[in-house]
């Protein structure tokens, strides 16, 4: 809607807060022994009986218009973003990532010889459900890549129409909850409770321990249930590492940039480490306040590893010496990420330096969509897409997710979570990100 209310904004915080932890890159071996995840192909779960459709379609099989959005020569996909509204600053312009991935695929012959087209809609202007309807009813797309903070509002519509949806998956619990089997994210569903428990990894805890944090302060936006959940889960996960909680503040105002009171509290409680589930502007304000108060606690942020910080000299001065979750690692990119960067630079030249969340999330989500189309058969239908992709137990995205193949089986259960997740961490030193810890692997833990 026009003036996006505060509460909806909380989803942005959750989204951004978990963006890095949810796009996990691990070097752990695949956790599902029943599949062999080779570097460049995927296999359906045993018993599905489908041929490996990553090759050209068998000669003689005619291509038909098998579903809405599918013609013998084209596939029409939809993309939802937030061009306006309060979430716009995080997601605006993100479609370049999707366009780059599609251009790369089309340059390689498309999918089964069909070229992919992309149509965009903005859920900030007309609302999430109307944006979904515009793409599905009006434009007749086959599936939707939804990179916005409000997917949850459109989810029932997508589910009722069995529309395949891919996204970054952290605006709400629908990405891992029945009946939303049509929704696929490129990471485990961190915001879905299973039997009242939330699943997370203790890698962040291990990193904090490695930088000698013993008393941790954790702050989160008061209106964001998911940010608060993040904070609580983390505090449970650090306890076994010998890190105690010295200050937990869940009443930060969304977008707050003045933190004098909070800095005093951190100082008073003798904290030597802080972690925030907030957006960039709050990271900057908090770090500045700590520096001004002379507090020398080690600061870790889920957000902030982006070009916007590097481009703003005042912001990077304020964040100097702080630590950031740096996944995907764009500073020393592994081959799969380098391939993404190459594609972005070739097909989306407006993306310079570290791609924004919108850009790389849309690239990765589009990759999942393309994979779904490939396993759906020579003449895909929405149902064959959903059924077959749900049967894929390990998908590495042709190197994009090489460190942590995605698990699409076991929907609605904790089996969607790999047993470990490895992340990289960077420090901002004099205006440059330096990777200080690579592949810090955390075990899966259940928290309340």
């Amino acid at each position: 809607m026009h003036k996006v209310p505060k509460l909806a904004v909380c989803a942005v915080a959750a989204l951004v807060a978990a963006a890095c932890s949810s796009s996990s890159k691990t070097s752990a071996p695949s956790t599902t022994p029943s599949t062999a995840a080779s570097a460049s192909s995927t296999t359906a779960a045993p018993g599905a009986g489908l041929p490996n459709v990553n090759q050209n379609f068998a000669p003689g099989a005619a291509l038909t218009a098998s579903a809405p959005g599918i013609t013998p020569t084209t596939i029409k996909l939809g993309y939802i973003t937030s061009e306006t509204g309060i979430a716009a600053s995080s997601f605006k312009g993100g479609e370049v990532g999707a366009q780059a991935r599609i251009a790369l695929q089309n340059a390689q012959g498309g999918i089964d010889g069909r070229k992919i087209e992309l149509v965009t809609a903005d859920d900030g202007t007309i609302g999430p459900k109307a944006a979904a309807q515009q793409l599905v009813d009006n434009q007749g797309v086959f599936g939707v890549i939804d990179i916005s903070a409000f997917v949850v509002a459109a989810a029932p519509y997508f589910q009722q129409n069995s529309v395949p949806v891919t996204g970054v998956g952290i605006d709400g619990p629908e990405w891992g909850q029945q009946p939303y089997t049509n929704m696929f994210e490129f990471g485990p569903p961190s915001y879905t409770p299973f039997d009242g428990k939330f699943y997370t990894y203790d890698g962040v805890a291990q990193f904090l321990k490695s930088i000698d944090v013993t008393k941790l302060a954790s702050l989160a936006y008061g209106i964001s249930q998911s940010a608060i959940q993040s904070s609580k889960s983390l505090l449970e996960a650090v306890a076994p590492q010998g890190i105690s909680n010295c200050y937990e503040d869940n009443s930060v105002q969304f977008g707050q940039t003045a933190f004098t009171t909070e800095a005093l509290a951190v100082q008073k409680n003798g904290c030597d480490g802080t972690i925030l589930a907030t957006v960039d502007a709050s990271d900057v304000g908090f770090s500045a306040a700590l520096k001004q108060a002379g507090v020398t606690a080690k600061q870790l942020y889920y957000t902030g590893y982006d070009q916007g910080v590097l481009d703003d000299s005042n912001a990077s001065a304020a964040l100097d010496g702080d630590y950031f979750v740096a996944s995907p690692d764009f500073t020393n990119p592994p081959p799969g990420i380098q391939q993404m960067l190459n594609a972005l630079h070739q097909y989306a030249p407006s993306v310079t330096g570290i791609p924004s969340l919108g850009a790389y999330a849309s690239y990765e989500a589009t990759d999942v969509m393309i994979e779904g189309l490939e396993v759906a058969g020579a003449n895909p239908t929405r149902q064959s897409f959903i059924t077959n992709l749900r049967g894929v137990a390990s998908y590495d995205g042709h190197g994009l997710f090489a460190d942590s193949p995605l698990i699409f089986t076991g929907f609605g259960t904790p089996a969607m979570f790999p047993t470990q997740q490895c992340l990289d961490y960077a420090e901002l030193e004099h205006g440059k990100f330096v990777i200080v810890a690579k592949n810090v692997c955390g075990k899966l833990v259940a928290t309340t």
Binding site: K3, C10, T84, S90, K92, Q253, A263, N314
Partner: protein, 642 residues
């Protein structure tokens, strides 16, 4: 603890400076300027563009943005809008400034783009100097704000109360006509006042941006919190506004020190401080004086006598226009395709909510700004009753509406003696309080997905739901028309014209107003349920008071006194952005918001709204086209000289 008090000065000074800007504007212009925060944001954004993006030095950037651009905005607003508001009704005054508050950020987005701004430098030179006061860091940016607060307090009080200029300005607010008799040009004074007001807003914006963050939402929230200090100051005492603003900031900081920071109680209490302050001061004001008075800013008798008055069209527009409109809209849902039908369905649901505004503001003359909250109560209540407790849907909707109605009645009783501006602020405060305290409960938010509200089997498709909604709308509209023609409606009409005169006739003002409030809350709740049905779930975030302000702006722009206007406004609100989305390029996206803001501004010139204006124009054209009939003149009353 002392340290936390000093730390509390940071936010306290921001509240104080915003509140004093609002009070100075109100004292000088007689209008509570809802767009103050938006103006501050716009000028601050311009300063950022000049200073940070284009690397202009601080002093030239300040001169250009605060010294030139800000007063220019004030002049433009005066010429285009504010000079028509002098004799306008309170709802028009509020809506017009809300329109500006909506249009300005949209304009800023169009001009400057919407990239997030991580750090907005103020006018203090970088690198920032930091001082220590009792071991509490105090930055130069914060000191700038403190200096501005003191300056505003001193200059504002001295100028307004002790100088000739201040006297003329305050005289203008009371009666421009009388002031002009003393040789002062009202138009020039008014223009100067608005230029000074926007200059202040710009200055406040530029010095606040480093602390509060440079985005329009933060400025809006700051302004709304400052309303509490404005109410405490009874809308006219600058020192009280400053003191209460500072106290609120300190209270927030001290509470953070005292209360356990991780508890959900603290989460709820800290953002609610301004609203608690509002409630306390309001009740105190009312108890002490019996009335919450506004300034008499409508001018005196002489003003009304000598100024051009638009012909008062208090009669409704007649049924002739309702029928063709419904006949045209009716088949819409049959003709259009899925996406557009979905928008029509939502538009019809909104129209039902708008009916509550029509009833409350159009008929009752009561400017309530919390109807979106009642819609939320209806939606959340219906979802809880139907989904969590298994009630059949019609009963659930009715039940939720019956929960909202008493809330309306109680609020009506509590606010019965308030002047219009006070009433608007109080209801807005109530709405925001509900949002912060009640709507954020997990029971309703369910981690962001809300509670599902399933459609009944007979209204499963968007099309069917649109027709059910339309039928409900017609039933409720007929109820409202009935109220209009009933004794209650006549009483409300009398009260609208002159509350004092109505009271002397022995008419029961209280009963009529309170019943109207209850009925309006009921109608809003039903509309909220339909919005939830249209969306498929009751999401608390879709019923925020700030969205409600935009709804009001659109409705008043179309016509607040017309039930058909409510339907058209609802459809406009959903269809126009849909049209822009589908047929216009992406960068047009902020345009619908801008248009809605501008539409609300047009209300200043055409208080009845665009629908009524167009119908009257159509009528006058039709009258001219009719063959000439002999015109009978009414016999002139003769002056009988005895």
């Amino acid at each position: 603890m002392l340290q936390f008090i000093i730390a509390g000065l940071v936010f306290g000074s921001l509240y104080a400076i915003a509140a004093s800007g609002l009070v100075v504007t109100y004292l000088s212009a007689g209008i509570l300027n809802f767009s103050f925060g938006a103006t501050a944001f716009f000028v601050a954004r311009l300063y950022y563009d000049l200073h940070t993006t284009h690397r202009m030095a601080i002093i030239p950037a300040v001169i250009l943005s605060v010294g030139l651009a800000a007063p220019a905005i004030g002049l433009v607003l005066h010429l285009a809008l504010f000079r028509y508001l002098r004799l306008a009704t309170p709802v028009v005054k509020i809506v017009a400034t809300v329109g500006v508050a909506v249009a300005l950020p949209a304009t800023a987005n169009l001009i400057f783009g919407q990239r997030p701004i991580l750090l907005a430098p103020g006018i203090a030179p970088r690198p920032l100097r930091v001082f220590r006061v009792f071991h509490v860091p105090v930055t130069m940016d914060q000191i700038t704000v403190y200096i501005c607060v003191v300056l505003m307090l001193a200059v504002g009080t001295v100028v307004l109360r002790h100088t000739d200029i201040g006297l003329r300005v305050r005289a203008m607010v009371d009666s421009p006509a009388m002031t002009s008799l003393s040789g002062t040009s009202p138009d020039r004074v008014a223009a100067a006042v608005w230029m000074a007001s926007t200059f202040l807003a710009g200055l406040i914006g530029v010095v606040s941006a480093p602390i509060v963050g440079l985005d329009s939402n933060s400025f809006t929230l700051l302004m709304i919190a400052a309303f509490a200090a404005v109410i405490a100051a009874r809308l006219r005492s600058l020192p009280v506004a400053v003191v209460v603003g500072v106290a609120m900031g300190i209270a927030g900081s001290v509470l953070q020190y005292i209360l356990p920071p991780s508890s959900s109680f603290t989460q709820a209490v800290i953002p609610s401080i301004p609203f608690a302050v509002t409630t306390v001061f309001l009740l105190w004001n009312v108890a002490r004086r019996g009335r919450g008075d506004d300034l008499r800013a409508n001018g005196g008798v002489l003003d009304r006598a000598i100024s051009y008055q638009r012909e008062h069209a208090s009669a409704p527009l007649g049924w002739g226009w309702a029928v063709p409109v419904v006949v045209v809209i009716g088949p819409l849902a049959l003709v259009l395709s899925g996406f557009w039908v979905g928008l029509v369905t939502t538009g019809v649901a909104l129209a039902i909510v708008f009916l509550s505004y029509t009833l409350l503001i159009g008929e009752g003359g009561m400017v309530w700004l919390c109807q979106a909250t009642f819609a939320g109560v209806g939606a959340l209540g219906a979802a809880q009753l139907a989904t969590a407790h298994g009630w059949p849907l019609p009963l659930a909707i009715l039940g939720a509406a019956l929960i909202a109605a008493p809330m309306g009645i109680v609020l009506g009783l509590l606010s019965i003696r308030l002047g219009d501006v006070h009433l608007a602020l109080v209801t807005l405060t109530f709405g925001l309080l509900m949002e912060n305290l009640a709507f954020t409960r997990q029971t309703f938010t369910r981690l962001g997905s809300g509670v599902a509200l399933a459609r009944p089997s007979f209204a499963h498709s968007d099309r069917a739901l649109a027709y059910v909604g339309l039928a409900t709308f017609i039933v409720l509209a007929l109820v409202i028309v009935n109220v209009r023609r009933s004794t209650t409606g006549l009483v409300l009409g009398a009260v609208r014209t002159s509350a004092d005169a109505a009271r002397t006739m022995g008419v029961s003002v209280v009963t009529s107003k309170v019943l109207t409030a209850g009925l309006a809350a009921f109608v809003a709740a039903v509309g909220g349920s339909f919005l939830a049905l249209s969306a498929g779930a009751a999401l608390p975030s879709q019923y925020s008071s700030l969205i409600g302000l935009v709804w009001l702006a659109v409705l008043v722009g179309t016509g607040i006194r017309s039930t058909v206007g409510a339907l058209l406004a609802g459809l406009t609100f959903t269809l126009v952005p849909g049209f822009v989305q589908v047929y216009l390029p992406t960068w047009f996206a902020p345009v619908p918001t801008l248009l809605f803001g501008l539409g609300a501004i047009v209300v200043a010139k055409y208080p009845e709204g665009s629908l009524a204006m167009q119908i009257r124009q159509a009528r006058s054209i039709a009258a001219r086209l009719r063959p000439h009939a002999p015109v009978e003149e009414a016999p002139r009353p003769e002056m009988v000289v005895t």
